[in-house]
Structure formats: structure tokens, C-alpha cells
């Protein structure tokens, strides 16, 4: 039901997302990002009311992990901040906190905007089940989710927003207030190329609504329109990517770490996935997914091979190249160079087919690297070699 675009995005932290919310007129509680207990105390004193203090990390589930605390006084806020800072959650150290006024919440709503792949349009999702994960609501009580597809030509108009608010049971002034939030969030989503923007929960308070939490994931491919976020990109992967994945990112490699022992390099996402599958069917377990993409140079391929061979878990390397734009001889050169530079003795199996296949095989065979024409057989060999080494 809530099938949306994911995978390709810069995830902003709550305090950053809320800054964008404010610029787009979405009501948010008063709050400030702090990095020391002293700042937490001072800001709480400035606010003069009870606060909630939330860790700022690019991972979910902070509540369950103890990353949210309440404080009634500046001193309590300082204590809470002291306890939270330096905490480890999902492998990450807490360095930033968000201190925010504590709300008197009447009701909690879910509100999100994302892209509906099937309908090729942005979609507004709203649910009375605020605070819950929307995927969970979609699975358990899909009737509690109101969906509105945004016509890409006409856009989201006030009356569309009114209808969504209406369907969630709001009338009168509350309907108009809720609709205004929907309109602003949708405007934000489009302007910021958000793959997902979410207010969960959107808190209904005495005199309106306010964003108690905020999520804003920006389409990586659109960062040329949002230069101010480009430098935030690598940081946003913290927590989501493993250390090796982070390193691969910084080298520009499309790499996913897996838990096996056979290093996999392929050209093209589909072929590389199929390579993993084939290794799995042969009883092996891949250590990674590494897609060279199209038209890689010998240097690029060498870097990739070095990166995978350098993984101590890798017992054997399986390179699967279907020569098209990528040339088999280039792949061969890269592999041979990587092997020479690293001086490793790990077994390498190369399957190649297509453009300059003969030249490639020749280079590899001369260097003593096995080449095969069949993907299945190459996988079988790689599994055997990994087990043996």
C-alpha cells in the first residue's frame, strides 16, 4: 500500500528538517540543537517550561533505545543532556541533542509525502495512527490511511488538502489548519526533492497542530538543485552504512556489505544481483555486492578489485563482466594490476563475455587467473575455492 521510493536519499536530522519546516511555514514547537549539558540547561531556562530532549542520530527507534528524556527544570535538562551525550545507539555516538518545549498533545496524526512509483506521482499519506510506523499501519489497518495522489500537472490544491483533512475526521477551523500543514508539507517535498518527508507525529494541540517530529529525506540525484546539502551527504550515511560501505562511498563505489566470504564484482546492478543469487544457489555466501556500473576504466576496476580483496573476510573473488560498454580487456587489466599491487594470493575467478573477451582472457590467463564463459560454472568454482582457502 505505501509503496514508495527509497534507497536513494540524504536523510536530514530532526533539527535540520525542522529548520526547513519552519521556512515553509509548518508549525513546529520551539526548540534548539545543543551539544553540551550547559547549552541544554540555558535553553531550557530561556524557554521557561518543561522540555523534551531527543538525541539527533540518523537512525530510527531512538525512543525505545532510551534516546528521549523529559525535563521540568533547567537542572534536570542539564542532567538529561549529560546522560544522553556520549550514549551509543545502534553503533553511533550521540553528539547532538534537540531540546524542545514539551507539548500538551490532544491527538497524534501521521502525515507524510512520498513518491508513488506505480502511479508515478507524489502521494500524501495521512493516518489517525500517529506515532506508529506507517508501514506497520499499512500492514495492519490500511483503512486508517488516507492517500491522496498529487496530480503532477495540477499540483496539490487547497481543496485536495481539505479533503484529506476531512477524511481524517477534521472539520471547521481544525480542518483548515490541518490542510494548511498538508499544503506546506507537499510544497516542501517538491521544492526540496524529498523522496520522503514525514511528520510523525503531527501533534494536535489546543489551538492547532505542530510537528512533534520531522523527517526529510532528499533525493540524492537532485542535490545539484540543493547545493547547500551536498556536503551533508556523506555524513547522512552515518549509522545507515557500515564502515566499509562508508569507505566505498567515499571512493565512489556502489558497494553493499554482506555477511559471506566470496567477494563479488559485477558490471550492472541486475547482473551483479544475479551473480549473488547464483553464488547462493551454489551453496556459497557473498561477502559483498559491488556494481562497477557502465564503462569502467582499468583503473576503476583495479580499485574495486583492491577494495574487495582487501576485505579480510574475502576468501575468494568472483568477477563477472558482461562486456558491452565495459571492455573485457579493461576488466582484465584492472584485476591483474590490483592483484599485483596488493600482492595477495586469494583465488580469483573471472567470468567474462562480450566486448574484447578474447583479449581479456588472454591477459588474465597469462597472469594465471582463471577465466570461464559460464556464470554458473564460474560461481561453482568460486564457491569451491572459497571453501578450500
Amino acid at each position: 500500500m505505501v509503496e514508495s521510493v527509497e534507497g536513494h536519499r540524504l536523510k536530514l536530522l530532526e533539527y535540520e528538517a525542522k529548520e526547513y519546516f519552519r521556512r515553509h511555514g509548518i508549525p513546529t514547537p520551539q526548540g534548539r540543537m545543543v551539544t553540551t549539558p550547559r547549552e541544554a540547561r540555558d535553553y531550557t531556562a530561556e524557554l521557561g517550561k518543561p522540555v523534551v530532549i531527543k538525541v539527533q542520530l540518523p537512525v530510527g527507534g531512538r525512543g525505545k533505545a532510551g534516546g528521549v528524556r523529559f525535563a521540568d527544570t533547567p537542572e534536570e535538562a542539564a542532567e538529561a543532556a549529560d546522560a544522553l551525550l556520549g550514549m551509543r545507539i545502534k553503533g553511533l555516538t550521540v553528539e547532538k541533542l534537540y531540546v524542545e518545549e514539551k507539548l500538551s498533545i490532544v491527538n497524534e496524526i501521521y502525515l507524510g509525502v512520498t513518491v508513488d512509483r506505480r502511479n508515478k506521482a507524489y502521494v500524501v499519506l495521512a493516518s489517525s495512527e500517529g506515532g506508529m510506523d506507517i508501514e506497520e499501519v499499512a500492514a495492519k489497518t490500511p483503512e486508517r490511511i488516507v492517500r491522496h495522489l498529487v496530480d503532477p500537472i495540477n499540483g496539490l490544491r487547497s481543496y485536495h488538502a481539505n479533503l484529506v483533512a476531512k477524511r481524517l475526521g477534521y472539520g471547521g477551523r481544525k480542518m483548515l489548519q490541518f490542510a494548511a500543514v498538508i499544503e506546506s508539507l507537499c510544497e516542501l517535498a517538491l521544492e526540496m526533492d524529498a523522496e520522503l518527508t514525514e511528520i510523525n507525529p503531527l501533534a494536535e494541540v489546543g489551538d492547532g497542530f505542530t510537528a512533534a517530529d520531522a523527517r526529510l529525506n532528499v533525493d540524492n540525484n537532485a542535490l545539484f538543485r540543493h547545493r547547500e546539502l551536498e556536503e551533508r551527504l556523506l555524513e547522512s550515511y552515518r549509522g545507515e552504512l557500515t564502515e566499509r560501505e562508508m569507505e566505498a562511498k567515499s571512493q565512489g563505489l556502489t558497494y553493499v556489505e554482506l555477511d559471506g566470504n566470496i567477494g563479488i564484482i559485477g558490471n550492472g546492478a541486475g547482473l551483479t544481483m544475479a551473480t549473488l543469487d547464483t553464488v547462493m544457489l551454489q551453496g556459497g555466501r557473498a561477502a559483498n555486492f559491488l556494481d562497477l556500473g557502465g564503462g569502467a576504466t582499468p583503473e576503476r576496476i583495479g580499485e574495486a578489485a583492491k577494495f574487495v580483496l582487501g576485505d579480510e573476510r574475502t576468501r575468494a573473488l568472483f568477477v563477472n563482466v558482461l562486456g558491452g560498454i565495459t571492455r573485457c580487456d579493461h576488466a582484465a587489466e584492472g584485476i591483474v594490476a590490483a592483484r599485483r599491487e596488493l600482492g595477495v594470493e586469494k583465488p580469483i575467478v573471472v567470468r567474462m563475455m562480450g566486448t574484447n573477451e578474447e583479449e581479456g582472457r588472454k591477459i588474465l590467463n597469462e597472469a594465471g587467473v582463471e577465466t570461464l564463459g559460464s556464470m554458473e560454472e564460474a560461481a561453482k568454482l568460486a564457491v569451491k575455492l572459497a571453501e578450500a582457502s
Partner: protein, 289 residues
């Protein structure tokens, strides 16, 4: 849609002076594709690969007549390039460009729908009518004119399976790369409808991957009798981990949706012969035909 492309299709290359554009223009012409001109704003009047370069599609069309366009323009300019062709009534528009923002794809598809234009891609290897016209970046040598229609979301896996089809002694009619992005112009059902009517296609190889539900919808379409010719399929990504993107922006398992198993089961339930390994698709087709 009476045809995608054939030997008579007059093809325009948008972004022809870039390294990819120029390189593939050469390869497409070597294959026999009737490339008539290229465009790059600001480069009008130049010549590349012996072809005239125009600043705008309007000018190229006025001088040569253009039926179809293939786009190698960098992602930030791809939307405008595609809209330019859509506006000029060019059909299909094949967007090879990788990394197009989703917002731009959403806008492109909406406008193309309004004018009834077929957009292939973005992030597609393109399409090919074996032996007649190649509008894409696929390696020519794996294709042979024949009876199998191929539909794929990925590139190299598509070549892999096409090569298997050729090796077992069959060949391809038209092959369509849908593209690896979350929002693309065509889905399996669109192409299956076309293959159902295409007299040159006797069977279909359907190549899927994790993410989204395009394969499940194809299965439902086939199961409901919308497509009546034999289909063999392969779905990549059984070894993929939920939440990890597998190379393509669209290839990601979210929670329990978009898994290879779900897709394979749906296709099997619809009577499709689903292979465990890519090579099995060609074997199945050999038996089915």
C-alpha cells in the same frame, strides 16, 4: 502504439557531442540504426560522426524528419531534453540518462501521458529491434533477429539473458529495457500488451529484479489472460538484504514487499516459467517454443 522502432525509424540523438552520445551514435549506426541528426544547445552547426548537430529539436526535425529520440544528456538537463522531444511529437523518447531526479521523472511521465508519448527509461539500456534498429547502449553482438521479446529492468542482466537466448539458437524480436529507476515510463504490462499484438514476437523473456511491484502486476496481467504467448522469467535479487539498495535506485526491498520470492511466486502462479538461474530462461523458451 503500432510499432516501437524498426529499420525505417529516423532517430535523433540528444546530447550527441558528449562522450557517451558520440560513442553510442557510432555503435548505433554500425548496427544499422538510421540516426539522422543530433542536438546539443549551443553546438548547432557542428558535425559529429558525420551527422549535423542542431541547437534544438525543432530545427533537427524541420531539416530531417525525426521519428524517435534517444537522450544522453546529463541528468540536470534531461527533463528539458525529453520534454522538447515530447512537445515535437517524437515517439518513443528513450532516456538513457542515469541519475535523473525523481521529481523530474514524475513531471516527464505526466506530460508524456498528456500527449500520448511513450517514454523509455530513464536509466535504461534502451531498446533494440534485433537486426534492424538499436536505440540504446546494449552490445550488438549478443542479439540475433528472432522470435523472443525481451523486457528487463536492468541492463547487463538483460544482455546476459539475450546472449543465452541467442546461444540456444533462438533470437530476439524487440527488446525493451524499462530502466532501473523508481519512476520510469514503461512497465512490463505496457510492453506485454504491445508484444501480444506484435506478430514478430512468439514468446517473451521477462527479466525482473527486487523492488516495487512491477513484476507482480505483470503476473496479474498474465494470470488474467491479458498476455497469451509463452513467458519465461528470471528475477534477480534473491540474495539481497532488505533495506539495502542493490545498485539501482529502484532495487530495494522495503519490509516484506518487493522481494524476489514474492515476484517469483506471483509469476509462477500466473503460469510463467521462472528460472532459478539466468541461463534457464533461454532453456525454458527453447522448450516453450
Amino acid at each position: 502504439m503500432t510499432r516501437f522502432i524498426d529499420k525505417d525509424t529516423r532517430v535523433l540523438v540528444q546530447g550527441i557531442t558528449g562522450s557517451q552520445g558520440a560513442f553510442h551514435t557510432r555503435l548505433m549506426r554500425e548496427y544499422g540504426t538510421r540516426v539522422v541528426a543530433g542536438t546539443v544547445p549551443g553546438r548547432g552547426g557542428q558535425t559529429i560522426e558525420g551527422l549535423p548537430v542542431y541547437d534544438t529539436v525543432v530545427e533537427a526535425k524541420e531539416s530531417h524528419g525525426v521519428d524517435a529520440s534517444i537522450i544522453f544528456v546529463p541528468a540536470p538537463y534531461a527533463l528539458d531534453a525529453a520534454l522538447e522531444s515530447v512537445e515535437e511529437g517524437i515517439d518513443p523518447v528513450v532516456v538513457i540518462t542515469e541519475g535523473m531526479p525523481v521529481r523530474d521523472s514524475v513531471e516527464l511521465m505526466a506530460r508524456a501521458r498528456l500527449s500520448g508519448t511513450t517514454v523509455v527509461g530513464p536509466n535504461t539500456p534502451g531498446l533494440i529491434k534485433a537486426g534492424e534498429c538499436k536505440m540504446g547502449i546494449m552490445p550488438a553482438q549478443v542479439f540475433k533477429k528472432g522470435e523472443v521479446g525481451v523486457i528487463s529492468r536492468s541492463g547487463t542482466l538483460f544482455y546476459e539473458i539475450a546472449a543465452h537466448i541467442t546461444r540456444v539458437g533462438l533470437g530476439q524480436s524487440t527488446c525493451v529495457g524499462l530502466g532501473g529507476d523508481p519512476v520510469v515510463g514503461l512497465d512490463y504490462v505496457n510492453v506485454l500488451r504491445w508484444f501480444e499484438e506484435d506478430p514478430e514476437t512468439e514468446a517473451v523473456a521477462l527479466i525482473g529484479e527486487i523492488g516495487g511491484d512491477a513484476e507482480e502486476r505483470a503476473a496479474a496481467f498474465i494470470g488474467d489472460g491479458g498476455f497469451t504467448k509463452p513467458v519465461a522469467a528470471y528475477v534477480a535479487g534473491r540474495a539481497a538484504v532488505p533495506g539495502k539498495r542493490m545498485g539501482h535506485a529502484g532495487a530495494i526491498i522495503q519490509g516484506s514487499s518487493g522481494t524476489a520470492e514474492s515476484k517469483m511466486n506471483a509469476l509462477r502462479d500466473a503460469g510463467v516459467d521462472v528460472g532459478e538461474l539466468p541461463g534457464q530462461v533461454a532453456e525454458s523458451l527453447k522448450e516453450l517454443l
